[in-house]
Amino acid sequence: MIGSIPLSDVLLASAALFSIGIAGALLRRNAIQIFLSIELMMNAANLALIGYGAALGTAEGQIIVFFVIAIAAAEAAVGLAIFVALFRHTETIDVNKITLLKW
């Protein structure tokens, strides 16, 4: 049961996940990997929400998480569609090679 885990541990885990996500998003060049890193950050936030919800004994945290998951699914569909279109256009998904907005 999550109730038996102290809140500080949950938050630590969440922070660790979030940091990994940030590092991945900033350091990776493959668009899909960046995308996955962002998903990781989102789930870190989910974890923190659930932890707080459990600590406070309310349901709001879990409710918000459900919303986030639903929206993340939709967002994943859009994001992947963009990558497909991008790939068709440039034949690469290396973000360093896609600098269309450069000065």
Partner: protein, 645 residues
Amino acid sequence: MRSPLWLIPAIPLAGFLVNGFLGKRLGKKFVSVVGVGAAGLATIAAYSRLLPFLTEGAGRQTAVETIGSWIAVGGLNLDLSFRLDPLSALMLSFITFVGFLIHVYSTGYMHHDETDAGYARYFAYLNLFLFAMLVLVLGESFVLMFVGWEGVGLCSYLLIGYYYDREYAAAAGKKAFVVNRIGDFGFLLGMFGVFSLFGSLNYSEVFSRAALEPARFSPALSVVCLCLFIGAMGKSAQVPLHVWLPDAMAGPTPVSALIHAATMVTAGVYMVTRCNVLFRLAPETMLFVAGIGAFTAIFAAVIAVAQNDIKKVLAYSTVSQLGYMFLACGVGAYVAGMFHVMTHAFFKACLFLGSGSVIHAMGGEQDIRKMGGLKSKLPTTYWTFLIATLAISGIPPLAGFFSKDAILAGAFEAGHPILYAVGLFTAGLTAFYMFRLVSLTFGGTFRGTPEQAHHLHESPASMTLPLVVLAILSVIGGWVGLPAVFGEHGDRFGAFLSPILLPIAGREAAHEALPHATEWFLIGLSVAAAVTGILLALRWYAKDEGRVPARMAASMPGVYALMVNKFYVDELYDVVIVRPFEWLARTLWKVVDVLIIDGVLNAAAFLIELTGDFLRFLQTGNVRNYALTFLLGLIALLLFVVGAN
């Protein structure tokens, strides 16, 4: 059947709309029918009101007909209403009638040389003018008068510049508009003054209130009336705002006859007479009016003596006669002034139309030095022109004699011997230059080219018929206002118009008629002046072929140059006003606009462009840079929030 008053101006307005929008496609015949028909119907509608009004005699009532509320803002409540009283009835009678005659004349005059579009445009403008002029005289408030006032100014501009492809005509139109605008500004100020004094702009309220409490309003009225008179000076071409009228002759001749002689230019006199209650409470302004009038009369007459363009002579003559009318208003002889407005409309329209007939026959030539001997070739034109000339010269029993005599008698009666002397001298001068014109144009032998001589012909009936009608009116038009020496009831004109001179509270209408002997003496003097002028002109120009004046001109080249060049007024304005304004405009353009305003704007734009040139290097296009910046920004924000707590 009596037409409602609003219908009288509405008919020419309808004619304007039809000819203005459709005339181009409908051909000359249709345009003539609509244009002349509208003027004719307006005349009939006007006379359906005028005839009962004239026959009602002493029991007649001033009719005010209201269509509806027009402006209701704050303290100003203005109805759209028209007024028929002796003064507007008088103006109405000759505006519609002379206007109709000139429409008829125009069908002959304009027929040859214009395209369908130009012909339609001409008649549309002419109808629009008639509409505006009728609004001007029939309106019951200062504001409605102002609407007409601006309307006739616009039509004047449009018709002076009718031959817009000729540069001098376009320039003349512009000049007329600008000079009139100066006057209009005075009129506007006067109107504001009237409103602030009386809280109303309706004639009936303003004038009755002024007449009831003269002491209360009298001091402020000097300034208000001065402003109003400046408006009249612009419209009626008084010195120093006279410069536009001679140039206005660039328009077609019937236009000169209708607008720049018979009707529009007398609007100033009408306005001053309409406001006679106010002016009578402002004696200083009255004196100013009389002085300007007398000066204009003699000034323009002197210029007219040395002009060689047939229309220019008539134009300066018009300026001079308008000066007479203001002289009359200034000495308090409003009735005499209006009398002269009426008779002048007849004989000056006749003269202008006659000159149009001459120009028509001469194939566009206007220089009287190249005419001569037209008497036999244009008999109808000659005789009508001669009659009108005798009328303007003041030969009894023609129309001009009675009105001019009434003005001179008025000046004498009011105790202004100098003004009287100026008027008398001008009368002689008028006779002189008019007979110089007649002698040079119709007398002697033909001095033009053989082609012109071959071309000479009498004008068609549509042109001669109005001439004949106007000549008849020039003869009999004055008989309605006989001087007192011819009997008690000779002055039916004065009796008819007297109701407009509202009695002012506390002032006796002390009207001591001149002794008959004095009056006979004055009549004798004015006739003598006219006859002297005529005989001198005939002797110098008809018999002597102009050798004496030529010698005089040669012996005094300075004076002659001054007269020929119209006392260099235009040149003076050019130096004093036009060029400084051009310089100012150019400075505003080149310095203020181009350098300062555009400069500030361009500097601001340049600064932004410069900033952008540096800041655009932030846009690497690399999405990971953006993400990093985003993260750093987020951290900074967090630190800030945490730090603030």
